[in-house]
Amino acid sequence: MKSLTNSQKETVTAYGFLFPNFLGFMIFTSIPVAASFALSFISWDLLTPPRWVGFKNFIELFWDPDFWKYCFNTLYLMLAIPLSMGGSLILAIAMNQKLKGIVFFRTVYFLPTLCSGVAIYMLWRLIYNPEFGILNTLIANLGHTLGLTLKGPNWLTDEAWAKPALILMSVWQTVGGYNMILYLAALQGVPRDLYDAAEVDGANAWQKFWAVTWPQISPTTFFIAIMSIIGGFQAGFDPAYVMTGGGPNGSTTTLIYYLYNNAFEWQKMGYAAALAWILFIIVFIFTLLQWRVFGKTVHYH
């Protein structure tokens, strides 16, 4: 009898503790997920009554050339991921050499990640200014010292250069951030004796890297890659909104920017919801991939 009241007491307490979070979770996450699914089969501009349209939104998306263009843009911008990861790994290896002042370096490298946001995008918009921006000034100065006349491109207003410009900025922003810290932790976790064994076999630094370091840190590489890809599909709104407005000629509009435009500029709620669900499916596939691989191969953490 006593134990029953005790467990009842526990249940009541548990519900009490859970209640505030659960309520918010239902209202702002759980129900909206279901609502958004229903919404993707509806045509609604929030003014006239909603209309059930079945798969029309998805079919329309499939034949929407803009959708495919923005898919391409999103993938193109994800070129920043391997570049940034390679840089992160090089920096992490350099940091792993037990130098003095490592805390200082770590802080400096973290600054761009830390300050990411509108302020930084405004800064880079000015850096990319073709006339007075620091980048083209540097390029011109470099040309001057080499005796050439170099002129930097119109970074953000030239359709060919806008995406590379955003990639360059993104690499600058992410190279010393989370990924570098994860890589550093992974490098510190590689067992010392593996290197000793490789040394006994007469391996040089290059061989040691490919035979020992690279396979040992591959779970981290995979983890970072998948997380970056998942993030990459949902990225690109803030910098493009501040720096290019999605232009020139839609060349920096990503899927999430298109979703924003559909929902909040053009009031095409159903169409935007369908787009959101396509994003969800892509993200879901990569998450499953991560679970599968991580469920099997990572034992040592």
């Binding site: 997920v33 350099a94 302020a119 800064l123 998450t287």
Partner: protein
Amino acid sequence: MAALQALHQTSEIQAYVQAKAIAKALTLETIKARKKRREILNKTLATIVLTVGALTMVGPFLWMVSTSLKAPGAVFSFQKNWWEEWIPTSFVWQNYVKAWQVVPFARFYLNSIFVALCVTFGQVATSAMAAYAFARLQFPGRDKVFFAYLGTMMVPGAVTMIPVFILLKHLGWIDTYKALILPGIFTAYGTFMLRQFFLTLPKDLEDAAKIDGCSYIGIFWRIILPLSKPALATLTTFTFMGTWMNFMWPLIVINTQTKYTLPVGLAYFQSLHNTDWTLLMAASVMMILPILIVFMVNQRFFVEGIKLTGIKG
């Protein structure tokens, strides 16, 4: 004679052993020296890589600060030494005053601080409570509810954004602080992270407290929370920074200038003063400054937090 020979032999053996030991010590010495040399080479190389990288990281910030302190005309002048781009040669603090005046910057600041504090407090408090229930209490349906939480963690924010907007519109909450704060508080992520941390805490203390007649609330308040300071600090820092930087959501739900948060205010400022570089940079510096301070104070929680969420999550 035989004994002498034996003695001779042993001394020979000894000599051999000694010679071998010396040789070994010598090779060890050279290996050590070679290792030492290689280490110095590695360290020099690493220092060069890190220094070049650090300059690349800091350069844009230097340029931002020096531009923010220039007289408006000086930005566009071509008669400059190269170092004048990076190091401020003039200190036009007036830019900061002006940036503060042309738009209600102080108001944006207050809005941002208010919203970030509310979201952070709400999130840490409700997440910690829910996490305690998930980690330590038995109740029917616990695993099912937790699974639902886990399941929504991979749902992109874009999916819930539209229905939440429509809901807020129906409630008449668009363009209010409620719209900025409430949806930000409840994330499955915070609950998940704290639950994982609570699970690692030893149970003995709680059992002892239970025997002493401590209630669940008492255990939560006096044992779990004090032991979880690092995890709570991490969640606090990340939530605060995330809310401070958030751009898209305030852009969607706020229409009135006086309710803008800093990022939206800054973008609005840019749209008004597109070519006033010195003012734009002064405003940017002012937005970044609080973040730098929070970071300097809480630095170790960042690194810990990244490892915690990155490796275990």
